[in-house]
Symmetry: C2
Subunit: 320 residues, 2 copies
């Protein structure tokens, strides 16, 4: 099985490629990213390519040998709101370009598209189900919802064998804060664990729908392993997550790392971020996903421990 | 008020322009169509242009002076299913091109987009509401659903003042059968009224959601007159229609035009058409649309009489 991963230089892309290398029957993995990726994993099966998906030649060559395509590349929510045209290019045009490249292979490759809970917005039901209408309240959400429709129709037509995963907000992301409206969700845990202050731009009572990187990666791998018949025409899957209030996250941080660490979090409202994030749902009925074998995290403390176990730079705090 | 109508050579486009000429304050009307339109209405305010919307120059020049843009141009359902790439170009790319042209004016023009009940498909609730998720089961439906997302996001961003009308199946359309999966819906009434045989490719018990051309045009005009504040963020409106079974349509035809006319309808199953049409909903909760002042037809007989009253070529039958 040959694999192509767009956004392959991102943290999920890298973790996904590591997880795939441990799977049976995985041949070549092409990691494609618009920004240079630094040193590769050392495994000779992994090839890194720095190129722009908007170039049809790039898309075609990336997928020409792929049995499975993971399309993770995206301009994140805050940036797509600030730079509308860039978001349209990357989140919509590049998705379409990749779908056309996959179709052109004539081999109906599996196409795993990472979508997001940002396709939803008010008015929201108490619990989001597979039958809840999308109401994006950000250009990122609108562009992801367009991608969902395209992947579904390309699948119905037999051009690709698509599966759309609506990922919860992934927490705890390693590295630096980014332009996602959800960047603070990881920031208020990660930065204090590194001894740094972090601001929470939303109310402590705000509910979030979260997944650990571990569960997100396991679910991406699982999505690629499912036979198309298991999905039928319903190619869009709300992935499992856990519902947590921001104040509960801070309490869990205090339990795991101490009150002093938790006290590094301040609360200063940011209306722009609050407007986007407060429109996201935090309660889902994911029975279909669980029936299909997708996994979920146990509780929020597990997400913090998962981060500490993986991220070496946090070791000072972990030992403290 | 200056107006641009794409698909302006189509039957709805022409009727819409006639209706607009009777409104107060209408200045210039540009009718744009990809195919030559024949003689214009004779009103000096109407200009016809034969040009391709995919050319950005064409889109820009069509909307440069427009306060209201009606985007009716589309590749119909049967053709978009048979010619996928053509459907993507016209139904998706041209819509986006027109939205970008409208945005480029910097004047936030009203943008009335004709969408369709074809965005829906199984699984369907008993009654479709504004909160029902779209599940297109045709490429036409998927492309219209993408257009809905784009118009809504362009409106949220303040680039246009959009309104999306999900039209019921329009019946009775004059003229020749076309490549729409719904073409038979008008055909089984229109052709017999002209003394011709017509085939119904679906079961007589099939329920349909219908609008007369008169109500559809009145609702397009009304959509353009509504202030944006009346709509808020909910830019998508399921237009009123009437729910009718095919067998009830034939009975109404017999009542209005005689049993001999109704007997010209045969029933030979067409699986391709049946698969698409049976996935469309026929029952809607349109209370929001009615509250907003959109209108609906009284009953199906009124649709037949409306056709007879307008279409002179059917006069022989009307007098019979």
């Amino acid at each position: 099985m040959n694999v192509a991963i767009t956004g392959g230089g991102g943290f999920l892309g890298r973790r996904l490629s590591q997880a795939l290398l441990a799977e049976k029957g995985v041949g070549r993995i092409v990691l494609l990213d618009a920004t240079p990726m630094g040193p590769s994993s050392g495994d000779s099966r992994v090839e890194t390519r720095c190129a722009n998906l908007l170039d049809p030649g790039v898309a075609r060559s990336a997928v020409e040998a792929a049995d499975v395509i993971f399309h993770l590349a995206a301009v994140v929510s805050g940036q797509a709101e600030a730079e509308f045209d860039l978001g349209m290019s990357v989140n919509l045009d590049a998705t379409r370009s990749l779908l056309e490249a996959a179709r052109a292979t004539g081999r109906q490759p599996k196409f795993v598209f990472s979508s997001s809970l940002a396709v939803f917005g008010p008015p929201l039901p108490e619990t989001v189900t597979d039958e809840t209408a999308v109401h994006p309240r950000s250009s990122y959400g609108a562009q992801k919802a367009v991608g969902e429709l395209l992947v579904t129709d390309f699948s119905r037509r037999g051009f690709v064998d698509g599966r759309v995963l609506r990922l919860p907000t992934v927490c705890v992301r390693p590295g630096a804060p980014n332009a996602a409206a959800s960047s603070f969700v990881s920031g208020i845990i990660r930065e204090p664990l590194h001894g740094k202050r972090a601001n929470c731009p939303v109310d402590p009572d705000t509910e979030l729908w979260l997944s650990s990187p571990r569960a997100a990666v396991a679910n991406l791998v699982h999505a690629a392993s499912l036979p198309g018949e298991a999905l039928g025409q319903g190619r869009i899957i709300n992935l499992p997550g856990i519902t947590v209030r921001v104040c509960e996250m801070i309490e869990a941080l205090a339990r795991v790392a101490g009150r002093g660490v938790a006290d590094l979090v301040s609360f200063n409202d940011d209306p722009g971020v609050r407007r986007i994030v407060s429109g996201w749902p935090a309660r889902f009925d994911v029975s279909r996903a669980l029936d299909l074998g997708f996994v979920r995290d146990h509780d929020f403390s597990a997400l913090i421990r998962d981060y500490l176990a993986r991220d070496e730079s946090a070791s000072a705090v972990r030992r403290a």
